[in-house]
């Protein structure tokens, strides 16, 4: 800043007059032109707070003639209050010899309210005394608006950063966390970022060595993407994430830190896995169903020639016995194909309203007498009144199957099977439709399974047990039955700790009980009637509209049987062989149609050895309610 030539006058009339005497008028003219054409407002103020000079921009902006301002006090021009409050202090400060900066809003008639930056510079005379203040006022409204917009954008970005489901993070070259957003904390499962900052990202990797590989890849390649990464949440649970990250470098290309984004795919990965599993099971089911169909055709030929041969042979001959064994083996094959068909068939089950706890108590009731020592079965009925729509005979089959598996898993060391009935709400995000479900949990303390085994147990022919124990079809049938009633099964297991199997079935509530019973269809008698399976069949038939009575063959059972329209004979009781019951009925001349529900061997013996034709229909265990109803109705239509 040039010093004004104020030695003689001490009151420069214009900035231009500060020039040395050697300057020409032309120099002064140019200086005045430059000052007047500046986009800033420039004024010179003396120690009496009087304007001594103003440039043209000032006059234009304030819509005033220079004469109306020059020679007047600032407090007259801007008002006393405003002067004392906002202006005087800054000017006084400048008179102490300092350059003063400040920003303020000014109203000008030409531009309205604008934002300005004011620079006050001390003007000195030859003796270095501050005689005047040169005030230069820049319009910074545009810059201010841009700053404001930038800060709004930043605010929006911060808002987005903390609300997006994407976790952002920054860690240093060693992996130590420097910054994370809220989503990162949510994904990892902590409340406060202090629990993450300062720790290494390596700690969140399920496989920490993989982090070292990722870090060196980021350093060498600059940017990298890691999909389906297994991370550990704060509580140790596994989460599946996708990470995209890049290395930020300084001007010389040295890495400073790594920025990245992390997305949680745990739920999607889980759903995808389960969907794939379901598709796989469907495909296996279709394949197995097709094979079972052809296999049944072949079995019919085996049955046929075996039986035709038996007719020509002496019962005491070796050939007769051998062929009888072929027939029995074919019977086992038949039961296998039936199970495969049960897994693959989607013909639908006959569904009635079932109180789940009844099925649980029939299950535990039938297991308790045959429990190996050291194994306990406990019922925990948290929601004892839950109802579901299902075939009780099928549900029983599911429960028995799961319970037997659990018991088998505890055979070596003993343990406890806890069957829990509870309610569960499923939200929209799951695989099942939103709603209330009955949760039936089979938790054992047996030997458990590894993850790989647990993922395959519903596949047909897969068996986790010892070779030769069972067909490996049990759990695939369980899966088939539960999927058909819109339910789902989850397995979680840890080797040596036990297995938990959760079944979810849509709850129908107690309302279902209010549905009026269907019109009576027929009077049915079940013999014997005291075992679990018979009781379930009786319950199911009764709920389906049949008049049901059951009896063990004692007392007046023959005349009771005579009054029934259909007699169901089962081989569930070891002390009452089905063949004996059939024999008694035939012996007493009861001509009611008999539906026999039995194992193949028992039926074969009764059919071949007793009066042929007495058994009008037969089903092999386990028979579904649908099959039973179909058989009963078929027999009644025929007899009527």
């Amino acid at each position: 800043m040039p010093h004004p030539d104020s030695g003689k006058t001490n009151r420069p009339e214009s900035v231009a007059k500060r020039s040395k005497s050697s300057r020409t008028d032309r120099d002064l003219f140019f200086a005045e032109q430059i000052i007047d054409s500046s986009r800033s407002m420039i004024t010179i103020i003396n120690r009496d707070y009087v304007y001594e000079k103003v440039n043209r921009t000032f006059c234009l902006n304030h819509n005033r003639e220079a004469e109306s301002v020059v020679g007047r006090k600032l407090e007259e021009v801007w008002g006393r209050d405003n002067f004392n409050k906002n202006i005087k202090g800054n000017i006084d400060h400048c008179f102490t010899g300092r350059v003063v900066f400040y920003q303020a809003f000014f109203e000008t008639p030409a531009w309205g309210r604008r934002y300005y930056e004011v620079v006050l510079r001390p003007v000195r005379n030859d003796r270095e005394e501050v005689t005047h203040v040169l005030a230069e006022t820049f319009d910074i409204t545009e810059i201010k608006l841009k700053e404001q917009a930038a800060s709004e954008i930043e605010w929006e970005f911060r808002n987005l950063e903390s609300n997006l489901p994407i976790g952002f993070f920054r860690f240093d070259n060693d992996g130590v966390m420097l910054h994370v957003n809220k989503a990162f904390l949510r994904i990892i499962g902590v409340e406060n970022e202090n629990e993450v900052i300062g720790r290494s990202m390596r700690e969140f990797y399920k496989d920490p060595e993989l982090f070292d590989i990722h870090l060196s890849k980021l350093h060498s390649e600059g940017i990298a993407s890691f999909g389906r990464l297994e991370l550990k949440a704060y509580d140790g649970t596994m989460i599946i994430c996708r990470i995209n990250a890049f290395t930020v470098r300084d001007g010389s290309g040295n890495p400073i830190y790594i920025d990245g984004a992390m997305e949680d795919f745990t739920r999607e990965a889980d759903l995808e896995k389960r969907l794939l599993q379901a598709q796989k099971l469907d495909t296996i089911g279709m394949l197995a169903g097709g094979i079972a169909h052809d296999f049944n055709t072949i079995l019919t030929t085996i049955y046929g020639y075996s039986e035709l041969s038996l007719e020509t042979l002496d019962k005491s001959s070796e050939a007769y016995n051998n062929i009888w064994r072929i027939l029995q083996a074919a019977g086992r094959a038949r039961s296998l194909t039936n199970q495969i068909l049960a897994f693959s068939r989607h013909a639908g089950q006959e569904r009635i309203s079932v109180r789940v706890r009844d099925i649980i108590s029939e299950t535990t009731g039938s297991l308790k007498p045959v429990l190996p020592p050291g194994i306990d079965v406990i019922e925990v009925l948290v929601s004892p009144d839950l109802m579901v729509s299902a075939d009780p005979t099928q549900l029983y089959r599911v429960f028995i199957n799961l319970a037997r598996n659990a018991i088998q898993a505890m055979e070596d060391k003993g343990g406890k099977l806890t069957i829990t009935l509870d309610s569960r709400h499923c939200d929209k995000q799951g695989r099942l439709p939103e709603g209330e479900y009955a949760l039936i949990r089979f938790a054992d303390t047996g030997k458990g399974m590894d993850e790989k085994t647990a993922g395959r147990i519903f596949e047909p022919f897969f068996t986790a047990g010892k070779q030769g124990k069972g067909t490996g079809l049990g759990l695939s049938v369980v899966y088939g039955i539960i999927s058909e009633i819109d339910g789902d099964i989850n397995v979680s297991s840890k080797a040596d700790e036990g297995t938990v199997i959760d079944i979810l079935i849509p709850a129908t509530g107690a309302l279902a009980e209010a549905i009026p019973a269907k019109a009576s269809r027929a009077e049915v008698m079940i013999i014997p009637g005291s075992d679990s399976e018979s009781r379930l069949i009786a319950m199911a038939l009764s709920a389906s509209g049949y008049g049901v009575s059951s009896s063990d063959p004692s007392g007046d059972w023959i005349s009771e049987a005579g009054r029934a329209e259909v007699i169901i004979v089962t081989d569930n009781s070891p002390s009452l062989p089905a063949a004996d019951i059939i024999y008694s009925l035939a012996h007493h001349g009861v001509e009611r149609p008999v539906l026999m529900i039995s194992d193949f061997d028992v039926w074969l013996a009764a059919e071949k050895e007793l009066t042929s034709g007495l058994i009008k229909s037969n089903l092999f265990k386990p028979a579904s309610l649908k099959e039973i109803i179909y058989s009963i109705d078929g027999m009644i239509n025929k007899t009527s």
């Binding site: 169909h293 296999f295 079995l299 019919t300 030929t301 035709l308 068909l341 013909a347 059919e607």
Partner: protein
């Protein structure tokens, strides 16, 4: 003696059924699919048709419908390997189309012969 037609695409099963029925002195005509069955069907000779349901060419359900058209008094037994009889199954449809009895494979020849005897009276 009554005439029985066996419609079955599996040759060994077809032969077995023929033997079982011929043993009981039925006149047996066999066909390997629905098309052959309809070509060989003689209303004056055949009293009962035993038909498999899932076959190449014309399937068993078509056989049941066409035979019921040609000679409504023909008795019909449907056999199938696709599971036990139950609503929604082929056997139930066969039953609804007019089959007098349905058998799910595997079954014993004595069961079948007993039923044939019953149906033909």
């Amino acid at each position: 003696m009554a005439g029985v037609m066996v419609v079955e695409d599996d040759p060994s099963l077809r032969e077995m059924l023929r033997e079982a029925l011929e043993k009981r002195r039925y006149t047996v005509i066999t066909a390997c699919d629905g098309r052959e069955a309809l070509a060989k069907f003689r209303p004056s000779v055949i009293d009962l048709v035993i038909t498999d349901l899932l076959m190449p060419e014309e399937d068993g359900l078509m056989v049941i419908m066409k035979i019921k058209e040609i000679k409504p008094s023909t008795k019909l037994i449907a056999i199938s390997g696709g599971g036990k009889a139950g609503p929604g199954s082929y056997l139930l449809i066969a039953h609804k189309l007019g089959a007098d009895h349905v058998f799910s494979k595997p079954f014993l020849p004595s069961e079948l012969v007993q039923k044939v005897k019953e149906i033909l009276g």
